[in-house]
């Protein structure tokens, strides 16, 4: 392995040696990569909600709305981050089974998973989750419905801001809409390996 390392680096050196001058790193303005609509926002939630809908995500502003949606579709068995459940439990009526430990041997039992946001991005309708802030990677991924609990002050306006604020965390995931594919004849199908329904729940 080590010999490969030396070999690669010496080949790189040899390849670059004849260059009289190396290409410089260009300077650029972050405004260039920001959507026009995302500039000069005061409240980022309306744009976030609009952009999230545009990628077939579901932004909700009350727990009651969430419960109604779950009941309507008969999604009654789920997983919830143990830190979030105490504040949500009261809104869930009898008939729901919500576990706060995700059991990976019963992957197919859970129809929804509720976990916490580490942020969101308004210009793209993106939810941000982090490894330290997510109680179970599988609980946020395997169920058909994934609900991310978000506070208004967690929403970044644009991608450059979200990158500048990337948390010190081994695994940060940006989620922009439900899991999807167009592999079969270019036809869009949602819910491939991950959630078929992606929900953002605003809690303030």
């Amino acid at each position: 392995m080590n010999s490969s390392r030396e070999q690669i680096l010496s080949r790189v050196n040899a390849a670059l040696a004849p260059l009289a001058q190396r290409a410089a790193l260009p300077d650029w303005d972050r405004e260039m990569v920001i959507l026009r609509q995302a500039q000069g926002l005061t409240d980022a939630w309306p744009l976030f909600a609009e952009r999230m809908k545009a990628v077939n995500g579901t932004p909700l502003t009350s727990v009651a709305e969430l419960v109604a949606l779950l009941e309507k579709n008969n999604w009654k068995h789920g997983y919830c981050d143990p830190a979030l459940w105490p504040s949500l439990a009261a809104a869930f009526p009898a008939g729901f089974t919500v576990e706060t430990t995700y059991d990976r041997t019963r992957l197919d039992d859970y129809s929804f998973g509720i976990t916490a946001a580490a942020g969101a991005i308004a210009e793209t309708g993106t939810l941000v989750i982090s490894d330290r802030g997510t109680s179970s990677r599988l609980g946020a991924l395997a169920p058909w419905v994934h609900i991310v609990v978000l506070r208004r002050n967690q929403i970044y306006h644009d991608i450059p801001a979200a990158i500048a604020a990337l948390p010190q965390d081994p695994n940060v995931i940006w989620i922009t809409g439900p899991s999807k594919t167009a592999d079969v004849e270019g036809i869009l199908i949602e819910g491939v390996h991950g959630p078929g329904k992606q929900i953002a729940l605003l809690v303030d």
Partner: protein, 481 residues
């Protein structure tokens, strides 16, 4: 005159495959154009910038590679280096054997295709399962991907339904939604039973050691939630200097590949899972792979190392649309493949020396490229290389020019030929000596042969002679024959 291999492929392509590839690539291109130009004031400048950043990276790999290695190590990642395909395969096997692992779930990595990893691991008793829907279908069919981003663009739903039936994934049903659900159900239990998640990476930030993986389906997330060990195969050119550069590149990648603002899942991975997290890898390895890249870096085509594998040049290419991906006979099809594949082939360059000719040099690939690679220029440089090295395939499809060059280099012979050519005006055209010309003439009338007329016109424009059409301008030529 032999036709080019790629033309033969295009000719033998089934009509519905050709239509699928044509429509799929065309649609992809149109959506991309709309999205880019609707939302940004100056999308072209974005491409140029991204190109400049990537060019800076490849011209500074000597400092960036050791720097990113140190950063990754300080993040708790084990770094390996592989100068050849064999080394890369052996590195993966070594990691797995040391852990006693047997099963891999794989998210899309083009490098693994390049090094033919699956075949190698199979010989050593290790099972590899593709989890991207398209790649999974390619795998069960023992086929090859025909597009970088849409691997089964060449297949229709009926073929896929038959394959699923054959593999015991349910009775024949060609509804795309049913196909997707069946794959979902089958694969989700496989992630949990596997030992290792194998992925590629779209970018690695030198500044932070963060690796970025994008997928739409969520398969890479599942790989990294189900298994205990993560191995990432990464080409040495995948670096970006700073995290902020990702804002530009992710933007361009999603738009160029699938006309999305952002790909559904963008993962920033910088190490094994956090301590309190119940799911995911406790061990993480990065294998930096050369496999010909340093030769490309030393070549006159190093710009191709900017490529971020978005597939936009495939979608826009008139040759790709007609010929489909398999015609390129290598891992990377389309315009990028026509440059990269012969270069990565190393000693086998002559076998792919025809690919740089599979282009009309229309320039569309350069216009859409998110990192502004001058693909037509690179194709020309490779045509030259093929010629210089006398590669037989580089000459296929070229009209025989020997007689012409003999004539053109001898003025007396040329003049005689111009005069002698008049004979063609008196010959029946079915006697024309050149078959393509004869075919052309069958439907049209050949203009009268006027060999030598330009020369006499030119002679009359000698200094002092009156230029009949432009009395306002003095003749510039001082010589004439």
């Amino acid at each position: 005159m032999a036709t080019q291999l790629i033309d033969q492929f295009a000719k033998n392509l089934a009509a519905d495959t050709q239509a699928a590839v044509y429509d799929g690539s065309k649609k992809g291109h149109e959506k991309r154009t709309k999205l880019l130009f609707d939302t940004y004031a100056d999308p072209n400048r974005l491409r140029e910038l991204a190109g400049e950043i990537k060019q800076h990276v490849i011209e500074n790999l000597d400092t960036f590679l050791p720097a990113v290695e140190a950063k990754l190590q300080s993040n708790g990642v084990k770094v390996h280096w592989a100068s050849s395909a064999e080394d890369a395969c052996a590195a993966v096997l070594g990691i797995m054997q040391a852990r006693g692992d047997k099963k891999i779930v794989k998210s899309k990595t083009m490098v693994s295709e390049e090094i033919e990893l699956e075949h190698y691991l199979d010989k050593h008793g290790i099972e590899t399962l593709e989890t991207d829907l398209g790649e999974f279908i390619v795998q069960i069919d023992h086929d090859h991907p025909s597009h970088i981003v849409k691997p089964i663009i060449h297949k229709n739903r009926r073929e896929i339904a038959k394959s699923f039936e054959r593999e015991g994934l349910g009775a024949y049903n060609d509804d795309p939604e049913t196909i997707t659900r069946r794959a979902r159900q089958f694969l989700r239990h496989k992630y949990l039973a596997a030992d290792v998640a194998l992925t590629g990476a779209n970018f690695v930030s030198v500044e932070s050691g963060r690796m970025v993986i994008v997928t739409n389906e969520g398969n890479s997330r599942f790989c990294l939630a189900g298994t205990k060990c993560h191995i990432a195969l990464i080409g040495i050119e995948k670096l970006v200097p700073h995290d902020r550069d990702l804002g530009l590149l992710l933007n361009l990648l999603g738009r160029s590949a699938t006309a999305q603002q952002l790909t559904v899942y963008t993962e920033f991975i910088s190490g094994p899972k956090s301590a309190g997290q119940p799911d995911g890898p406790e061990e993480m390895h990065v294998v930096f792979v050369d496999n010909g890249r340093t030769d490309v870096l030393a070549s006159e085509c190093k710009e191709i190392l900017r490529c971020i594998r978005c597939g936009a040049c495939l979608n826009v290419c008139p040759v790709y649309r007609q010929a489909s991906g398999h015609a390129y006979r290598s891992v990377y099809p389309g315009p990028v493949g026509a440059v990269l594949s012969p270069l990565l082939a190393g000693k086998k360059f002559p076998e792919l020396a025809d690919l740089p000719k599979a282009s009309s040099l229309c320039g569309a690939c350069n216009e859409v490229c998110p990192v502004n690679i001058p693909i037509p220029d690179l194709l020309l440089r490779l045509r030259e290389k093929g010629k210089r090295e006398g590669a037989k395939l580089a000459a296929a499809g070229t009209p025989p020019m020997g007689a012409w060059s003999l004539l053109a280099s001898q003025p007396a012979a040329w003049k005689t030929a111009l005069f002698g050519g008049k004979i063609i005006n008196y010959l029946p055209t079915k006697w024309l000596p050149i078959p393509p010309l004869r075919a052309w003439e069958a439907k049209r009338t050949l203009p009268e042969w006027k060999g030598g007329e330009f020369r006499s016109w030119f002679r009359n424009r000698k200094v002092g002679a009156v230029a009949p059409n432009r009395p306002d301008r003095k003749p510039e030529s001082k010589e004439g024959r």
